[in-house]
Amino acid sequence: MSAGAQQQSVAEAEDRSAVGVQGKRPPGEVEVLARTVEALLFLGGDPLGTRELADAAQVDELEVAAALALLSEQYAPGRRGIQLREVAGGYTLATDPACEEAARRLFNRPRTATLTPAQAETLAIVAYLQPVSRPEITRIRGVSADSAATTLLERGLIEEAGRSQFGAVLYRTGTQFLKLFGLRSLSELPDIAQWDPAPEEQAELRERLLRAGEARAEGGPAPA
């Protein structure tokens, strides 16, 4: 086989997977279906069987098989960063193991240990009032703290401490809390007085926080 003929056959093989770009002929049905199957496999985390794919694309399983054959060529090992895999129960897209080192570095990159405003407020309430329930945190903040609390739980900064008599989950600071703030014990939490807008107030902290929160929820005057 001459070099020219070889290149021509390569061109033919390539042409099947690159239809529609050059605009020389409309993409065939298999190519269009392959794109749909590709999109479905991309979205679905779990493997999809030919039956499911056929139902979603409203074609028969034979057509899906042809589309999958085309895709498995496009996703042949070593060609892309993603591979088409046939696993128990169907097909799925997964990353090429050769790229996994980089993926590990991506997921385990050192994250800056900062708190969002909502997280800082939620954590401060838990630290100073523990144990404290989620509804109480919401009442003090005037807005829900659900997603902030979830993140703090995941990061080990707060943990559950049983339930209140009304069934609400109680929180206290978690194992990572003292470590991250460089404290030896909770008694080393700074005295709130220096940030207190009304240090002369005699009422206890919890009472005052709840009162301020309820005033906010009522809606103070709009800022001019």
Partner: protein
């Protein structure tokens, strides 16, 4: 011409077209403090009823204008040193403010339409939401000790202790009592233990008594309090369904 401008009003204080009212208020020929905005809204609802259709554009404009009046009114009721200054707004100035308000509302309504268009254009674009395989998610590294500053917690709590300035209600004839105020009153009593309804209201006026009953129902609904009444018109005893969690006072230097 907008129908809001031509809306004919027959209020206690004023009869004539809405725009005239607006102007008279701006020119301080009608005291905003004496104008019942609720009456104004009811008149508008009657007007809509009579027309039998809702013109969204006009309705929005009406709402923006009434809200602006409401805010002007509440600013008049605000106590403070700048009260004089607020009352001194020139009619032309106030008209400019109302105009600015209407323009702002229009801008953001148009921007909202634009955003809806953008979202529409993205129709059919889906992102992958499958979690990454666990073997790639090695346990996240534990950040070094002392990375976060405890002062951050103090400032956060300090901000939460700020109480918004209260609105002075002395201009309003009817004494007002809010549900939230009654709720915190009852909660404070609950923390001390069992109490009677009589103790909770003292010799307050009927409005306060009614709102207190409402607050009590709310606490019952939330599972915070229960009550009992042994006979008709008898004493009502209220108690917490659970003792409130022990309070922790602010830690003083050296740890309290």
């Amino acid at each position: 011409m907008s129908t809001v401008a031509a809306l004919d009003l027959d209020l206690d204080l004023f009869s004539g077209p809405f725009d005239l009212l607006l102007t008279l208020v701006l020119r301080e020929e009608i005291d905003l403090l004496e104008l019942q905005l609720a009456e104004l809204v009811l008149a508008y609802l009657d007007h809509l009823e009579a027309r039998g259709e809702l013109d969204l554009e006009t309705a929005t404009e009406f709402i923006v204008l009434v809200a602006a009046l409401l805010e002007l009114k509440s600013r008049l009721m605000l106590a403070g040193e700048d009260e004089e200054q607020l009352l001194d707004i020139e009619p032309a100035e106030a008209a400019e403010e109302l105009l600015a308000r209407m323009l702002d509302a229009r801008r953001y309504r148009s921007a909202a339409e634009h955003l809806r268009g953008l979202l529409q254009a993205q129709d059919g674009v889906r992102f992958r939401s499958a979690p990454a395989p666990p073997h790639l998610l090695r346990a996240a590294p534990v950040p070094a000790d002392g990375k976060l500053d405890p002062a951050q917690l103090g400032t956060a709590l300090g901000r939460l202790l700020v109480v918004a300035p209260a609105i002075n209600l002395r201009h309003i004839a009817i004494p007002r009592v809010s549900l939230a105020e009654r709720l915190s009153h009852l909660r404070a009593l609950l923390r001390r233990g069992r109490f009677s309804f009589e103790e909770a209201v003292g010799d307050a006026d009927r409005m306060t008594v009614a709102i207190t009953v409402f607050a009590l129902l709310e606490l019952y609904k939330r599972g915070e309090a229960a009550w009992e009444q042994s006979e008709c018109f008898g004493e009502i005893h209220i108690q917490a369904l659970a003792p409130p969690a022990p309070a922790v006072v602010a830690r003083g230097a050296g740890g309290a």
